[in-house]
């Protein structure tokens, strides 16, 4: 995918949900539903569509739809521009839905991070910003 693929790493999170793929697909592709579990957005399930994900913390992610295979695969870029290159984030998020006997296995892979990435700014800050800020203060004081 990237010419620096050898330096890039990825994050994979998988979970099985007791619902058919069609239901998960709606949650992954309808803007008002995406907002309920991920972030505010102007998503459209159209390859090449550019959109933003807006986090509660005020950050804005630049995204572009890369792949849409209804009920099976959804992929988009997940980029965060920052003046300091070490905080720049250029990554790709891919959701894969696999039907199981009792529901659907959802696999999320986020790839494209670099080894020298200081922080996965765009995402980690959404839910964990305050926690890590506190934690870093605590760790600094106890170091």
């Amino acid at each position: 995918m990237s010419h620096t693929a050898t330096e890039a790493r990825s994050v994979v999170v998988e979970r099985e949900f007791p619902y058919p793929p069609e239901k998960l697909w709606r949650a992954l592709t309808q803007p008002h539903l995406i907002e309920e579990w991920l972030m505010k957005n102007d998503f459209k399930p159209v390859v090449g569509h550019g959109f933003n994900l807006r986090g509660e913390w005020g950050g804005v992610l630049d995204c572009e739809v890369l792949a849409v295979e209804p009920n099976r695969t959804l992929s988009y870029t997940w980029n965060f521009a920052h003046d300091d290159a070490a905080y720049n984030l250029r990554s790709v998020v891919t959701f894969t839905l696999t039907p199981t006997g009792t529901g659907t296995r959802l696999r999320m892979e986020q790839s494209g991070f670099h080894r020298d990435q200081k922080q996965a700014y765009g995402g980690a800050h959404a839910g964990w910003k305050q926690f890590f800020a506190n934690l870093e203060q605590v760790l600094t004081r106890t170091a």
Partner: protein, 107 residues
């Protein structure tokens, strides 16, 4: 590995538990009584939180006479320093939201 990460994130996701852990980080070893004086919950609740923190490897207990002293184990936080773990934690919490949403949605 992933289960250990899940446990760490879930353990620290609770604000009361996190406050107890942060107090142990800031002020060093404490008894349940001292921790309860600061927490906004009862002593049995504090003891329960300490049990969960201990299970996640975040605190250690030391018995001295009739008192039990608790201390923070900062080494257990190592996975959080790594950004890939932070990102995995972010997605785990988003998947929790997704699970809640799916329960509310009609077929």
């Amino acid at each position: 590995m992933t289960n250990a990460h899940d446990m760490l994130f879930r353990t620290l996701a609770d604000p009361t538990r996190r406050a107890i852990f942060e107090q142990l980080c800031r002020e060093g070893e404490q008894t349940v009584g001292a921790l309860t004086a600061r927490a906004k919950v009862s002593q049995p609740a504090v003891s329960k939180h300490l049990g969960v923190l201990k299970q996640a490897g975040l605190v250690r207990d030391r018995h001295a006479g009739r008192q039990t002293h608790y201390s923070a184990q900062l080494g257990a936080l190592a996975p959080l320093i790594d950004w890939t773990s932070r990102m995995a934690g972010f997605w785990q919490s988003r998947f929790d939201h997704l699970e809640d949403l799916l329960k509310r949605m009609d077929q």
